[in-house]
């Protein structure tokens, strides 16, 4: 078991070497607090400013419309609560396949007296823009639809949703944690008012993310304290993290496009290799309109976690679509929303490829998956699940 293959880039990624180099001096050498007016503080402030500038350039937005946060989850909480609480009361529209960072935030708002509509998705996992139109009410205060789901990777019709929202004057928050730096995003063309994006999914450090806030969007802060980030997010800035984030985004500008093509081809190789050798397997999500490196497969009549364990023992990291936590079955709510039957959904395994993935890695995975699934199916009660 010397070989190790990491196919879980949607969970987190190794920090890019250039990013590590860029952020390292900000621990022991440039350690001032960016709020301090003296030289030590100004040096730290400059690091933050450069990072903000780089991200703004990448997103083609003004730098002062970017707020740094501690992670995708905070950005999502901030985006959704910030819009809703600024309006006090009303109706929120989201989808059934959002990340928990949005879903549970909307639920928390419901507990405070807001109402919510959770839009369904089709068999590919896509929201129908017409459903958004129908869901809008006079008291709708926010729409939050993700750009792509981490599990199946289908891209949502954000441009259409954005157009409809604008017609009705409703602000749109988009969780782009899985797409930012992987596929192009144009907040103006797509009609996005708030955009959540994160560093650790794109070879930046954990513990830092951002929220784009279109100028003029009515928002309130949710973390209170000092006057950081133009009073929109209190707390001493995570300077090394922000510096690393800026560098990671700059590198994405160079690497994103070629990598998407390469990783997309490797994902096809993975799917075709497995499909050729394993019966009763299917690929979830939209065949083309999707994240390049994500392959969500369902193995019928096998349980996700036993595949993840079997591959882990071969040094391969993939993630389970269904999870058995303290004795509760949890088939992926995303696959369930897409209408997958339970005997398929229980056997969902996601592979997510990244910049260091090679064809040899993929072949090793295919060679490992085939016998494993066969063995697991041998131990299977006939007609189970």
């Amino acid at each position: 078991m010397t070989r190790r293959v990491y196919l879980d880039h949607n969970a987190s990624t190794p920090v890019h070497p250039e990013v590590v180099t860029e952020m390292t001096p900000y621990f022991a050498d440039v350690y001032g607090n960016p709020s301090s007016v003296h030289g030590f503080g100004r040096d730290a402030r400059e690091g933050v400013d450069v990072a903000r500038e780089r991200i703004a350039t990448f997103l083609r937005v003004p730098p002062d419309q970017i707020v740094f946060t501690s992670g995708g989850t905070e950005s999502d909480n901030f985006g959704v609560k910030g819009l809703a609480l600024a309006r006090g009361r009303g109706h929120v529209i989201t989808s059934r396949i959002e990340h928990h960072a949005v879903l549970r935030t909307v639920q928390a708002l419901e507990a405070q007296g807001f109402t919510a509509t959770y839009l369904p998705v089709d068999a590919y996992g896509a929201v129908d823009p017409d459903d958004v139109r129908k869901a809008i009410r006079p008291d709708t205060v926010a729409i939050s639809v993700m750009h792509a789901n981490s599990e199946v990777g289908t891209l949502q019709p954000i441009t259409e949703i954005g157009r409809i929202a604008r017609e009705h004057g409703v602000p749109v928050h988009v969780d782009a944690v899985q797409t930012f730096g992987k596929v192009p995003i144009d907040v103006d063309a797509m009609g996005i008012d708030l955009l959540s994006f994160s560093a650790h999914k794109i070879y930046g450090p954990k513990g830092v993310a951002g929220l784009y806030i279109r100028k003029g969007t009515k928002m309130v802060a949710i973390q209170h304290g000092g006057e950081h980030e133009r009073r929109r997010r209190a707390g001493t800035e995570n300077v090394p993290g922000i510096v690393g984030f800026g560098k990671a985004v700059e590198v994405r500008g160079r690497e994103m496009h070629d990598e998407a093509r390469r990783v997309s081809a490797l994902r096809d190789r993975l799917w075709e290799g497995i499909a050729a050798r394993v019966p009763d397997v299917r690929l979830n999500g939209h065949p083309t309109n999707r994240l390049p490196g994500t392959a969500s497969l369902c193995y019928r009549h096998v349980e996700s976690e036993s595949i993840v364990l079997g591959l882990d023992l071969k040094g391969i990291a993939v993630s389970a679509g269904s999870a058995c936590t303290s004795g509760n079955v949890e088939p992926s709510y995303v696959l369930v929303a897409m209408g997958l039957p339970l005997d398929w959904a229980m056997g969902a395994v996601r592979s997510s490829l990244g910049r260091s993935t090679t064809a040899e890695d993929v072949d090793y995975v295919v060679d490992s998956v085939a016998p494993l699934v066969q063995k697991l199916r041998q131990a299977l009660p006939v007609g189970a699940a």
Binding site: H301, E303, E305, S306, L309, G310, L313, C324, T325, S326, G327, N328, V329, M346, K375, L376, Q378, A379, L380, P381, V382, A384, A385
Partner: protein, 123 residues
């Protein structure tokens, strides 16, 4: 690794996996919360387990527990097995994490059910 070497070995090389034709007894265990399922087949000679086979559906530990369980009961009097405790299955795996104890329970349930079936048929 949160699983013992023994457990991993049973998972990777399950013993006695698969269907048994015309068994003397069959028992099932199911874990409601989780959908985990184990089925045990017994062939009995002179009141003892002459052969055991299993089928299992569930996360890795459940498959390993079924495999370990099928070894554990070989040659034992069926009467004893009517009272098999999950702890015995767990010990045969050199332990289970807290949130996977149900793997041993499902298998012990299946064994007790099969033993019960054989005993009631005989009486």
């Amino acid at each position: 690794m949160r699983y013992s070497e023994t457990l991993v070995d049973h998972f990777l090389n399950p013993r006695n996996a698969g269907l048994m034709r015309e068994p003397d007894a069959v028992g099932e265990g199911e874990y409601a919360g989780c959908g985990d399922l184990a089925r045990v087949f017994l062939r009995v000679r002179d009141g003892r387990v002459a052969e055991a086979r299993f089928q299992a559906y569930g996360c890795g530990p459940t498959i390993a527990a079924a495999s370990a369980g099928s070894e554990l009961i070989a040659l034992r009097p069926v009467e004893d097995l009517a009272h098999l405790k999950p702890e015995e299955v767990e010990r045969a795996l050199d332990g289970l994490p807290e949130d996977r104890k149900h793997a041993a329970e499902v298998v012990a349930d299946a064994v007790r059910a099969a033993a019960g079936q054989w005993l009631s048929q005989r009486s």
